[in-house]
């Protein structure tokens, strides 16, 4: 059943520029190319890594695939040590690093079986990441 799920972002700064930055955007998450709300989530999960190896967080084969999907990925590095990060990779392309406390929200095109979302922790110490997929 279609649900009403809203994702809102604000980006604020009073001193990044001489003009105050105050960005606010809200969207209702819908299926691809339609106005019907998304229907599915994997739920909010946590993963604790214990090596500096690359881990598959979302396996492309585990979700309905194709470019016509509206998958959204939420990630958050729950660590507090500023130097600890997770490198986020889509397929074999590095997207960027999530340092302690950072979060990200982005679409995911699992266009084929290799288009996994992967994470690589910065050290082999215990690192914890929160994650969720929202989809149609």
């Amino acid at each position: 059943m279609a649900a009403t799920t809203t994702a809102s972002i604000t980006i604020n700064s009073t001193d990044l520029l001489t003009d105050e930055l105050s960005l606010s955007t809200s969207t209702t998450l819908t299926g691809a190319g339609i106005s019907t709300g998304i229907t599915t989530t994997g739920g909010l999960g946590r993963k604790t890594t214990v090596s500096a190896s690359q881990y598959i967080l979302f396996d492309a084969d585990d979700y309905p695939s194709g470019p016509d999907m509206a998958h959204k990925i939420y990630l958050k590095n729950t660590e507090t040590d500023a130097g600890l990060y997770f490198l986020i990779t889509h397929n074999s392309e590095d997207i960027g690093r999530l340092y302690a406390g950072d979060w990200a929200f982005f679409p995911w095109n699992n266009h084929d079986g290799t288009a996994d979302i992967k994470i690589t922790p910065s050290t082999s110490a215990s690192h914890t990441l929160e994650y969720m997929i929202l989809t149609d």
């Binding site: 799920t5 809203t6 809102s8 001193d15 339609i34 989530t41 470019p67 392309e93 690093r97 929200f105």
Partner: protein, 148 residues
């Protein structure tokens, strides 16, 4: 040092049996530090009328100044027609589609030459025209020289 804060709230009363109410807030810092980011490309609005794939930030050179420094990218599809979308890519990797009203906020490591962020409108969006907003808040970015 500037203080820039990014917050996300995801809510739903009916997606799952338990109401979803997630909030995350974080100051944007330089890589591995607690020092705030100080540079931004500023907010840009484009009106796109072709399906051409575009680099929305300066093309990365062989050794990007911001390589593995921290940068945050915000992109928003401002269309209201739900069939209008843009495809977001890094280099040759198709990250995903932003449908009407959708946005992304993600880190960007500027990891290598040609690992540029690109957007491509779909045909129906391009034929009508589609507005896209984007910005980057970062600690390093290489701009082309006057000879480029």
């Amino acid at each position: 040092m500037a203080t820039t804060t990014a917050s996300l709230t995801i809510t739903s009363a009916d997606l799952v049996g338990d109401a979803l109410s997630l909030s995350s807030t974080k100051e944007l810092h330089k890589a591995g530090t607690t020092t705030g980011l100080e540079q931004t490309t500023g907010m840009t609005t484009l009106h796109l009328t072709a399906t051409t794939q575009l680099d929305i930030f300066p093309v990365l050179p062989a050794t990007p100044a911001g390589q593995n420094k921290q940068a945050w990218v915000y992109i928003c599809n401002k269309a209201t027609d739900e069939t209008f979308y843009i495809t977001v890519s890094i280099a040759a990797t198709n990250i995903g589609r932003l449908y009407a009203g959708d946005y992304l906020f993600m880190p960007y490591s500027q990891i290598a030459q040609k690992a540029d962020i690109e957007i491509t409108p779909n045909a129906s969006a391009a034929s009508t025209g589609i507005d896209v907003e984007y910005t980057m808040i970062h600690e390093g970015l290489t701009y082309p020289t006057s000879g480029d």
